[in-house]
Amino acid sequence: MISRLSLTARLTALFSLVSAGVLVGLALLIGYSVDRHFAEEDYAALADKAALVRRIAGDAPGDAEMTARLAEALQNHAGLVVRLATAGGDTVYATPGFDAGAARELRTLPVAHGDHGAAQGAGRDGLTALAWHDGGMRYRAVRTRVDTARGEALQAIVGMDTEVHDHFTRGFRRTLATYVLLAALSCGVFGWWAARRGLAPLRSLASRAEIVTAQRLDERMPVDAAPVEIRELARKLNAMLERLQHDFQRLSEFSSDLAHELRTPITNLMTQTQVVLSLPREAAKYQDVLASNAEELQRLGRMVSDMLYLARVEEGVTLVRAEPLVLQDEVRALFDFYEALAEERGVVLRLSGQAGAVGDRLMLRRALGNLLSNALRYTPAGGSVEVRLVQRPGWVSIAVENQGQDIAAELLPSLFERFFRGDKSRVRSDLDGVGLGLSITRAIARAHGGAIAVRSSGGRTCFTLELPDVP
């Protein structure tokens, strides 16, 4: 439920709740303190009055004098109620306001917390704190023993209504409540504003993200303008866009490359077939054209298969089976295969070193095979192709080096690109590959967690395949 609320709403609610909680707590504390303060004041006053009553009662020679003196002494103390009673409960003296309350059973209220603490101070003088309601009024009182001049022990209750203080307290509470309410509300409003303002960078990210499309993948999130917390997110999003843009670009290049590469052979096939069909010809001619078509189509088929293979290896769909391989055996098997070709071209194949690796036999054979056939293609007669295996801790390196014309330095990085052919103007022969071999080799190296590098100088070109011990 909460998780469905917007972040702003959540922050606003949290802000209001917290501020309301804090304010209410504060208000309660203030209310309590005020109450306690008043109670202390009241009980202190009552203790004074109780002492006064004790003195008058102790001094007066008779009940009549005592009553008169008490009435006289108390007449200026509005709101003060006093009752003197015998131990048996008979009223000796009572102020006029007290009758109604006295007639009833004296209902002592549980002394409020604040009162209790305050009354303890009074209690030291042999006073007991009391409180009660009577006719909508609240009374605080103390009870004490009074010894008359005649030696009679009376019980005195000296009380006062707390109306003055209560009136103040009620007003104070109202004000406080209003303040708390308004403050909580304004905190909520402020919180909402702050949350909105704080989340503004997110909205700007969102609006920026809105304009990113396949055609406009170069848009980036504003990083420097964003606050620290969002900067990291923006940076991560930018990195994601970077990767997507790169992949997307590769993908579109891939399809356009493919279309270009397919266009020429398809045109050839179409033209040749239509030209042959336009006139009646001898059977041998048809056979010739069909055979040539078949060869061209085979090339096309292989190109498509290679493209798919490359795509799969690059995507990591083709799983790398990990089996321990003795690399010199694999190289020898490949040498067996290429031997006839090498001999015919007058090229010597040489192998040095030994190494073991863990990898997919089929894939690594293909990768090495591509390097070998590439090397053979560019080695002049009388030259040599050398494979060097080097085992290092954690790594295996396989170098395939051939003699031949140097590859221009500026072309080296693009050697591994799809459909790259060193010399664009060179007449394409049937022996040429489709220009995917080195891309496939690189993809296989990467699928094994390795890498491939090339250098070319001084009439030698060397491809170095580096593989980790365990992919």
Binding site: A291, L297, G301, S305, F337, A340, E344, S373
Partner: protein, 243 residues
């Protein structure tokens, strides 16, 4: 030998039927998965060529059906989708082989023959003869017209493959895989060179040439009298070579 092709693409289906018929097989063609499944259950075929992607009932389900009812015929899958998962699924369900489109017809034919041979009783013959060419496969010796021919190990393996499958057009990829265990398409003409060198040893100096290039398809080795036959019946050659 009776084959069933289940292929919904009518052009592909027709060409496959024509090609396989001309190669000497009796071929039924089903254009839908349901028809194919029915036919496969009713009739007895030596081999079934099954397209994976069919509109009504895909190749995998047909295969499951057939295997559930103990139809023993080997199944060769054809598919346009080549993923390891697909391959594994097909083989797990009991497919015998798997060919990815686009494939060379010669490749299909070679695989079909391999599968048929696998299901037939295998007789390991230690002496193979084509015309006046004789191979002693245990001692790994070859002679032609009584004259000993010295071959390297791989040359002998290549010649043995060609003679054991005489009359069949073998595509280069199959040769690379069977002789050198190279299972990827090398973009070089290694096979052509190897064949040329083999020819120099067994055909040069003889009137009748045994190894023949079939353009656009591959290589075939056959006795001269059969070459005349196959010249008449088309490049794919007769299906049942005289043993």
């Amino acid at each position: 030998m009776k084959l069933l092709i289940v292929e919904d693409e009518s052009k592909t289906g027709e060409y496959l039927r024509q090609g396989l018929t001309e190669a000497g097989f009796v071929v039924d063609l089903a254009a839908s998965g349901l028809d194919g499944c029915q036919l496969a259950l009713e009739e007895s075929y030596d081999l079934i060529v099954l397209d994976v992607m069919l509109p009504d009932m895909d190749g995998w389900r047909i295969l499951q059906n057939l295997r559930a009812r103990k139809v023993p015929a080997p199944v060769l899958f054809l598919t346009a989708r080549d993923s390891v998962a697909d391959r594994v699924k097909g083989l797990e369900l009991g497919a015998d082989d798997y060919l990815v489109k686009p494939f060379a017809f010669a490749e299909l034919l070679a695989r079909v023959r391999t599968l048929l041979r696998r299901s037939a009783v295998q007789v390991a013959d230690d002496r193979v003869q084509v015309g006046d060419l004789v191979l002693d496969t245990t001692r790994r010796r070859a002679s032609r017209g009584g004259r000993r021919i010295v071959l390297t190990g791989k040359e002998f393996a290549l010649l043995e493959l060609l003679t054991r499958r005489q009359g069949e057009v073998l595509p280069r990829s199959l040769i690379a895989s069977q002789v050198w265990d190279i299972n990827f398409d090398s973009d070089t003409n290694v096979i052509d060179v190897a064949i040329r060198r083999l020819r120099a040893k067994i055909d040069d100096g003889f009137e009748a040439k045994l190894i023949r290039t079939v353009r656009g398809m591959g290589y075939v080795l056959e006795a001269p009298e059969e070459q005349e036959d196959s010249a008449r019946s088309g490049p794919s050659g007769p299906s049942e070579p005289a043993a």
